[in-house]
């Protein structure tokens, strides 16, 4: 199975990277771009035949390590390998 963990800064948390990108894009002339937030995307391969199991494993991994819940929210998507 494959899991995608999308980790984004919580609302209200300073996001210096996102801000910097936004500024650079505006300077480059992308005036239509209003706001940029930068997060992480983590792609995981799991040995698991069962989506529920996979979800649980990745959920645990996210809480324990992948995301910092003080500043980040996460979202998991499980897909079966093609």
């Amino acid at each position: 199975m494959k899991a995608l963990v999308k980790i984004m800064p919580k609302k209200g948390v300073l996001d210096p990277q996102g801000k910097a990108i936004e500024k650079s894009l505006n300077q480059l002339g992308f005036s239509q771009i209003n706001s940029v937030i930068q997060g992480k995307l983590i792609e995981i391969e799991i040995d698991s035949i069962n989506e529920n199991d996979a979800q649980k494993i990745v959920e645990d991994a996210s809480k324990q390590l992948l995301a910092n819940l003080v500043i980040e929210d996460y979202e998991i998507t499980i897909t079966k390998d093609e």
Partner: protein, 229 residues
């Protein structure tokens, strides 16, 4: 008196802090590999600076999950002195031994320079050798030293006088202009409520050697020594 310096893969200020500790405590700290399950009896635990696990994912995140950390968390809760410098501070927030977290510097670049700091709390067990509001000079060297916590946490830290050091200028002015990295309220170092754990981004071990130029960090180590004795 026993000191343990924890060595994570990628720690790189472990030797430096051991040298400063030895000068003040007059004895060799034990260097403890992160994979150890048990910690030697310690009166002081030091989490040194560096790039544990390459600072990958988030600074300190993987070190916070190292085998030795469960012992350290136990010790911290039962009152053992713990200091975390730079990466060590990041590890302490990742383990929740200290509140908040350290994010990327506001200008996105690594900063290595001497900075003036204001000793905000000169009564703590880590800082009592300094006088109230003393301005000291200590180097920083970090990419993620921008202290962040939600407003409630910040209020609590401020109300309970848990800020150890703040970034300022030579004249002690604390404001946005004297904030090198975007840190909330210019916070450079904090203490936990119990008063036995301190985390700071600046490197006191780089300011404890006359030949290398700075000595303002020495009082930090002496404060700890006297508090333990």
């Amino acid at each position: 008196m026993e000191i343990s310096v924890i060595v994570f893969p990628g720690s790189n200020c472990d030797r430096d802090v051991a040298v400063s500790l030895k000068q003040v405590f007059k004895r060799n700290p034990k260097m403890v590999w992160h994979k150890e399950q048990t910690l030697p009896k310690s009166d002081l635990i030091v989490l040194p600076g560096g790039f544990s696990y390459g600072d990958y994912l988030r600074c300190g995140s993987m070190a916070a999950n190292s085998p030795i950390m469960s012992e350290i968390i136990k010790c911290g809760k039962s009152g053992t002195f713990i200091i975390g410098i730079c990466n060590g501070f990041q590890i302490l927030t990742e383990t929740n031994l200290l509140p908040g977290t350290l994010i990327r510097n506001k200008d996105l670049s690594f900063i290595c320079k001497n900075l003036p700091l204001k000793v905000e709390n000169s009564k703590s067990r880590f800082t009592h050798k300094y006088s109230a509001n003393e301005i000291i000079e200590i180097p920083v060297a970090h990419n993620e030293g921008n202290y962040f916590a939600d407003q409630k946490t910040i209020n609590n830290i401020e109300d309970k006088d848990l800020v150890a050091f703040r970034y300022c200028n030579k004249d002690g002015i604390v404001n946005d202009e004297t904030n090198p990295n975007g840190s909330k309220n210019n916070i450079a170092g904090i203490i936990n409520e119990q008063g036995n754990i301190l985390g700071m981004m600046p490197h006191p071990e780089r300011a404890s050697d006359k030949v290398a130029g700075l000595i303002d960090g020495e009082k930090f180590f002496i404060s700890i020594l006297e508090s333990i004795q």
